[in-house]
């Protein structure tokens, strides 16, 4: 057998071993409930709870952003992100979080959002004909006393 064939076989074996090892690096998409059990870094997929407040007050702390998210089992959880608020999170259709559970809060290290793509956007901006006249300025306003 030629040297190159031997090396080839060795390399192919190495590559296969490598792929097996590599897939141990891969993760799973899970839920908040699982995250609570496992206490390790993982992915959680879900949607933003748009009814609750998204808390970001840079004046107090520019690196604290929190919001509520429903995971795929519709469990709601408070998510804390140490960083600036991602700008288009309100529009997101789906959120993929990377992070882990700390107490009852999910501490996200990364937030990935799926926003409605502009390609399949089904809205067309339309100029609206406005019949109502603008009210003119009135420089005095009587106030009862």
């Amino acid at each position: 057998m030629k040297k190159s064939s031997v090396i080839g076989i060795v390399v192919i074996a190495l590559a296969i071993a490598m792929i097996i090892v590599m897939y141990t690096d891969s993760s799973t998409y899970s839920t908040f409930t699982e995250a609570k059990e496992k206490q390790s870094e993982l992915y959680v997929v879900g949607v933003l709870n748009k009814d609750k407040e998204l808390l970001y007050n840079p004046v107090v702390d520019a690196n604290h952003f929190s919001f509520y998210m429903y995971d795929n089992d519709s469990t709601e959880c408070r998510v804390v992100f140490r960083g600036a608020k991602p700008q288009d999170i309100e529009r997101s259709e789906q959120i993929v979080l990377t992070g882990k559970m700390v107490g009852d809060e999910f501490h996200a290290s990364k937030i990935l959002m799926k926003c409605p793509s502009k390609y399949n956007q089904d809205e067309i901006e339309v100029i609206e004909a406005n019949t109502a006249q603008r009210t003119g300025f009135v420089d005095v306003q009587p106030i009862n006393q």
């Binding site: 040297k3 090396i7 490598m18 992915y43 690196n63 600036a84």
Partner: protein, 815 residues
């Protein structure tokens, strides 16, 4: 019911659609004619048809581009493509980028380059023209089918760029014949794509992709025509060209990401980036074994396989980025245009062609009976190619996790931290590759004198060790053994190839290209490693700890710094001040001053202003930040706005508030004429009383008492204003009418007259101080990143030199 729409300009679309069909038909005819022209060589009529239809295809491709450009340039929003990718406010040079923002435009770009390359082949390929062009035009036909956009047996084939907006979408306004008058503007171009690099990065990248067909076609033609040896020689310059252009395109993309995207880096191992680097690496490997075969007769199968598989991987890359299969694993939002299966078919056509030819001709392939010598260049070139392929397998496997999920229905998530995951593997491969590209330079083909080899290799080894020590010390990467190893391997490459370059200049000109591109590769490795390993976020609040930057750069605690306008903050070596912003719609530029202050003298030793900007585009998802970077020779300071105060003065929210809630609690004064009252920004003089005051829309009755109080307001800035609030008694009831001085945020009420005290009651309302403007920003220092860019440029120059020397040394005996 058919509606007669008003104002649509349908002609350019119809012409364009005609060209689309023509380009597909002509390419197919050309491919078939070239095929029969090859098998029945004596019959020249096939060649005549093939060439004619090739030129027809060229005309059609140019026609498609012209029509599409006409539509976008003239803002014909009745076409979906123009509406979806451009807008009226877009500057002309970005109209070019919007041209290829969509998938259809980028397919067109690919076709256009392929047509140009086809022209070169028609003129220059001589005896190779027929078989090679048969393959190239087959690819052109498949690409053409991507733009057809017609239904065949209920399946939509292709996606036409000439589809009308009303055909693409369902909306009630399309029942109005005059719907065009209601469409204000297109959706515009994604803010991140409005960058100079986006004008030239996609064409370069696609030229690289398109050029990959040529080595594939030569390999296929060589196997098909049993011209086993000739094709390699003929296609080496083409392979080098493809590698050079694709490499330049990838680096441009990386530079664009660094300059214009908010990644905070130059390489993120995003699936889209990986998809473009995979075929590049395989063809790099291919070029090396092709050269090895040419010089030694070894590794024929590897050379053929790599030349062919690289193009199949180009199609696979298109599939990954265009089919929507990547889903949530990529930040790039690619949507499925319905081309999923068509792209799969595209892959399988060329994969099948490759597998068939390789199997059918396996027995006849030239193979060397003699075993390679360990001390031979061809042996190590082969090993190097193998390592590159294994490195590729790693990238393909990790990137293809979503594909794996789609095929097997599994739900495996990609690694949590992709950057770390890929770096961990690729750093190891890079070390091996760099070491190989160093010592293999001292090997000769067939057989090397081992004594000579060791003396040359060791001398460079020692020199590299010394240089490494220096580099590691200066760049401070000694924290990690792997970093040191990688720096050493890269330095060894530079030193060894530098030596070869020295010899080459003295005579062996042919090797200069190789030496230069390997030096570039070494520089690129060092620059990339140092910048990735030692970049640090400098916008850290003093209270927060600074994380030791590893290979990865995810959001760490306290990466963002809050700045209030006009208040300097000390940040590392710099004192930063947010000094305001300037608005150039649709962008807001935030001016941030950086000052370096000498501790002892307190003098400013260095001063510069960075103006990162953000585009507030609700359609694209709010604020989209674009970094600004200060470039030094040894490092870069990168600044990105991550949050900013919304700017109500732009949106006119303030005019909504006319009530008293917008003001602070009033100050009540009992005054007399001539009194002076203080307010926050100046003083007010009570000048007098106007007993004949009139009120505009309240007619004076006889028993009315209407008195105005004349006030003069002197602002600290020097301006003065007048105001006359009015007090009114009608039928025993008192009213008062307030007056505003908007410029000073003041409101006055003449609220009472107190005759018994001889006083006039004046109420002064002041608006609270406007909230100070602020920004939240992030600054990263990238040390020695210039090595990375510089290495990339040197590498490209090296490829160029190699193409030049290798196409010149082609023996004249070739037909």
């Amino acid at each position: 019911m058919d509606i007669a729409y008003v104002g649509e300009s349908l002609l350019p679309g119809q012409i364009g659609q005609f060209f689309v069909i023509l380009s597909f038909g002509a390419a197919l005819l050309s491919s078939i004619s070239y095929y029969f022209g090859t098998t029945a060589e004596e019959d020249r009529s096939w060649l005549v048809i093939a060439r004619a239809s090739f030129w027809l295809n060229v005309v059609a491709v140019v026609g498609i581009g012209s029509c599409l450009f006409y539509i976008i340039y003239n803002h014909l929003f009745e076409y979906h493509y123009a509406w979806a990718h451009s807008s009226r406010s877009l500057p002309t040079h970005y109209i070019i980028s919007s041209f290829w923002e969509g998938q259809e435009g980028s397919f067109w770009l690919w076709m256009f380059w392929q047509a140009l390359l086809g022209m070169v082949l028609v003129f220059k390929a001589k005896s190779w023209e027929r078989p090679v062009m048969a393959v190239v035009m087959l690819c052109q036909a498949v690409l053409g089918s991507m733009l057809i956009g017609v239904e065949v047996f209920g399946e939509r084939v292709g996606s036409s760029p000439f589809i009308l907006l009303r055909e693409a979408m369902r909306a009630p306004i399309f029942s109005d014949p005059n719907y065009l008058g209601m469409i204000a503007d297109g959706s515009g171009l994604n803010a991140t794509l409005q960058n100079y690099w986006m004008v030239i990065h996609p064409p370069t990248l696609f030229l690289g992709f398109a050029a990959m067909i040529v080595p594939f076609a030569y390999a296929a033609a060589g196997l098909w025509q049993r011209r086993y040896n000739e094709w390699i020689r003929a296609s080496i310059p083409w392979a080098l060209f493809a590698v050079m252009v694709l490499g330049a395109g990838i680096i441009m993309g990386s530079f664009w990401a660094y300059e214009a995207l908010n990644f905070g880096g130059f390489w993120a191992w995003d699936p889209v980036e990986n998809a473009s680097i995979i075929p590049w690496l395989t063809l790099i490997a291919g070029v090396h074994v092709m050269i090895a075969y040419k010089n030694s007769g070894h590794s024929y199968f590897a050379a053929t396989l790599l030349a062919m598989v690289s193009f199949v991987l180009v199609i696979y890359a298109s599939f990954l980025t265009r089919s929507g299969v990547l889903g949530e694993t990529s930040v790039h939002s690619f949507t499925d245009l319905g081309l999923y299966w068509q792209l799969v078919v595209f892959i399988f056509i060329f994969l099948a062609l490759m597998v068939y030819l390789l199997i059918a001709r396996k027995k006849e392939m030239p193979s060397s009976k003699k075993e390679e010598d360990i001390y031979s260049r061809e042996f190590w070139l082969f090993i190097g190619a193998l390592v590159l392929v294994v490195a590729c397998v790693q990238i393909i496997a990790s990137t293809s996790i979503p594909v794996f999920n789609a095929v097997f229905g599994t739900k495996i998530a990609p690694p949590l931290d992709p950057v770390q995951h890929y770096n961990k593997w690729q750093a190891g491969f890079a070390v091996v590759i760099a070491l190989l590209s160093a010592f293999t330079q001292f090997m000769k083909y067939k057989r090397t004198n081992s004594r000579k080899f060791y003396s040359a290799a060791l001398a460079s080894f020692v020199a590299a060790l010394v240089v490494t020590g220096l580099v590691v010390y200066v760049t401070k990467v000694y924290v990690n053994f792997m970093y040191i190893l990688l720096v050493f391997a890269a330095t060894y490459t530079i030193v060894a190839n530098g030596r070869i370059l020295g010899e080459a200049i003295r005579g062996k000109w042919k090797l200069t290209g190789s030496a230069v591109s390997h030096i570039g590769f070494g520089l690129l490795l060092i620059g990339g490693l140092v910048a990735a390993a030692t970049n640090e976020v400098i916008s850290v609040n003093s209270s927060n700890y600074i994380a030791v930057a590893g290979f990865d750069q995810v959001e760490k605690p306290g990466d963002n710094l809050f700045l209030t306008e006009g208040e300097p903050v000390q940040m590392g070596d710099y004192r930063v001040t947010y000094v305001g912003d300037s608005i150039a719609p649709p962008n807001v530029y935030y001016k941030i001053n950086y000052e370096k202050i000498d501790d002892e003298t307190g003098r400013v030793t260095e001063h510069f202003q960075l103006r990162p900007f953000a585009q507030n585009n609700p359609q694209m998802g709010g604020l989209v930040g674009t970094p600004a970077t200060k470039h030094y020779l040894t490092h870069d300071v990168y600044t990105l706005i991550t949050a900013a105060m919304s700017t109500p003065h732009l949106q006119g929210q303030e005019s909504e508030q006319t009530g008293f809630e917008a003001y602070d609690e009033p100050a009540v004064y009992e005054t007399n004429i001539g009194d002076t009252l203080r307010y926050r920004n100046g003083y007010i003089v009570v000048e007098g009383i106007n007993r004949n005051a009139t009120v505009q829309n309240i007619p004076r009755k006889d028993d009315d008492i209407i008195v105005g109080l004349k006030l003069r307001i002197h602002a600290a800035t020097g301006e003065s204003y007048e105001a006359e609030p009015v007090f009114l008694i009608r039928g025993g009831t008192t009213f008062d009418l307030f007056k505003d001085v908007d410029e000073q945020g003041l409101r006055f009420r003449f609220s009472n007259i107190m005759p018994q005290k001889d006083k006039l009651e004046l109420m002064v309302y002041q608006k609270p101080l406007p909230e100070k403007r602020w920004v939240v920003f992030k600054a990263i220092k990238f040390p020695y990143i210039n090595f990375f860019w510089c290495g990339a440029i040197v590498m490209t120059i090296g490829f160029f030199m190699a193409i030049f020397s290798r196409s010149r040394t082609k023996p004249a005996t070739q037909e």
